[in-house]
Symmetry: C2
Subunit: 272 residues, 2 copies
DNA sequence: ATCAGCACTTTCACTGAGTGGAAGAATCAT
DNA sequence: ATGATTCTTCCACTCAGTGAAAGTGCTGAT
């Protein structure tokens, strides 16, 4: 049909300039977001064309802006012409108050927990509808997991996620359970009422136990971290190979780590 | 003197609009940089006015741009009206290839090193004229240090810095030694020729020893990390309380950690 | 060698997005 | 109340940013 594009009239273009009402800033952000775009498969490095596509920008605009970002340090241009996120972003990122404060305070306790259990150790916060993994320690030989520092994982299928949800404001829980929850493995609990019952249980125990709900062969034990005001601001967990028996020692270790961090954050076992 | 500003003519303003030839992008970057600006004393949170001052921008421009940044997640606006860097930056930052790859690979070895030595453990890379601290592990009771994840420290007065300088291209060394080196403590080596001799020694030993050159009461042992190509890409160190005797066990531990990480990065003891 | 194909870079005339001074609102201090 | 300070909104002007198109350079097929 539309064989040869009509060069005389406006050439058919994938990009509708007039419809793009984004500000300069928004376009810059789109370029940076291009590197984080697809959920799991984060592309560490992209060509100019790939960035332009993902950001939905004309190539020349992308080129100009990428150059500015490179100049600043937000992007790095490699010898092969590919781009990746730059060190400047890392430097700014680690200054972020939550990341910096929580991490600095929690890390020693996480190390202790790792030493006593020799299992994956996670530290996560609630961010939007996800558990955002702030820190992860693991030895050389631990189980392969999808978690990663900076990763976002669902609240209903991870230990830290359930803990965070259990202590979240009720409207957050409401909203979260209103959407359908993905079933990753046969044992993933996805039915809203069942999840609610679990949350209540977790609040009662001050501890969450998960088994085979996200990654086959792995279980997790998670506990809440409170700040000065008593609010739950984060969660710690260990992820172990699934075993039948409940290891009381592990549970105690996780609880102690959470309590240690809470105390370090200024929490004093409130009126109970 | 200049009592009432003359409203009829151009009002005396600290900001010369015409002289500011920065692009929109550059102005945005200036706002973000405002949070990292002063070397040591990083301000975690700033008021709008403070940002405008540091970035050298009119208040209204700052206001508009800050709003866009908040919308994106690059800044967070707190209840009290103060701004701080946002989680989005952290998320992008941890995706940065060097940070992500090096950290992921190195962390288990750093943990081992911490466990066997119980001392501060540092991982740093060379960035510009500084040692940039990528990772830092330390227990609850360790010596108080100025280093911090994301911190930049001088090359000539830190263990990791000297190692990185020792294996840097000669023009980097040239340039670095061309400027006058700050003396932090009486024992800091600042004389260019003396530094060069040290670098040679470090290359020979494959290890650097520092004592009381940056922080009083602390010493450090550092070793180089090589990648697949044999190039030195980072350095590990431990920082200990200064003692008279050389602890061979500590030196071995640092060396082993560095070798372990190098091996994990694909380095195979090259032709020697 | 030659050419086609693709990815990146540079240019440039047009124009509306971004600008910043100023006025208004809100907050705090006295 | 009164003034000082900090933040927010507005809007007419204008120049910075725009993107189509031409140019450059590389790769690999013939």
């Amino acid at each position: 049909m539309s064989g040869k594009p009509e060069r005389t009239s406006r050439p058919e273009s994938a990009f509708d300039a007039a419809a793009d009402r984004r500000s300069v800033a928004a376009r810059l952000f789109a370029i940076l977001d291009a590197f984080a775009a697809p959920a799991g498969a984060t592309s560490l490095t992209l060509t100019l064309t790939a960035i332009a596509q993902r950001a939905g920008l004309p190539l020349s605009t992308t080129h100009r802006m990428a150059a500015e970002l490179v100049g600043w340090g937000g992007l790095t241009k490699h010898d092969n012409g590919q781009y990746s996120l730059g060190m400047k972003l890392w430097e700014l990122g680690v200054q972020t108050p939550t990341a910096r404060n929580l991490r600095t305070i929690a890390l020693p306790y996480l190390e202790d927990l790792y030493e006593t259990t020799r299992e994956h150790v996670h530290l996560a916060i609630l961010d939007g509808r996800d558990a955002l993994y702030l820190e992860k320690l693991s030895g050389h030989h631990a189980v392969r997991l999808i978690s990663r520092v900076g990763a976002r994982l669902p609240l209903h299928s991870t230990g830290v996620g359930l803990v965070l949800l259990a202590y979240a404001p009720s409207e957050v829980v409401q909203q979260y359970l209103a959407t359908s929850l993905e079933r990753f493995l046969p044992r993933t609990v996805t039915e809203p009422e069942a999840v609610r019952r679990r949350l209540a249980e977790i609040r009662q125990l001050g501890l969450a136990r998960m088994s085979e709900e996200m990654t086959a062969g792995s279980s997790s034990i998670a506990a809440p971290i409170r700040d000065r005001t008593g609010q739950v601001v984060a969660a710690v967990s260990i992820v172990t190979r699934t075993t039948e028996l409940v290891d009381a020692g592990q549970e105690r270790a996780v609880r102690e780590a959470a309590q240690g961090i809470s105390r370090a954050l200024g929490y004093r076992r409130a009126q109970q």
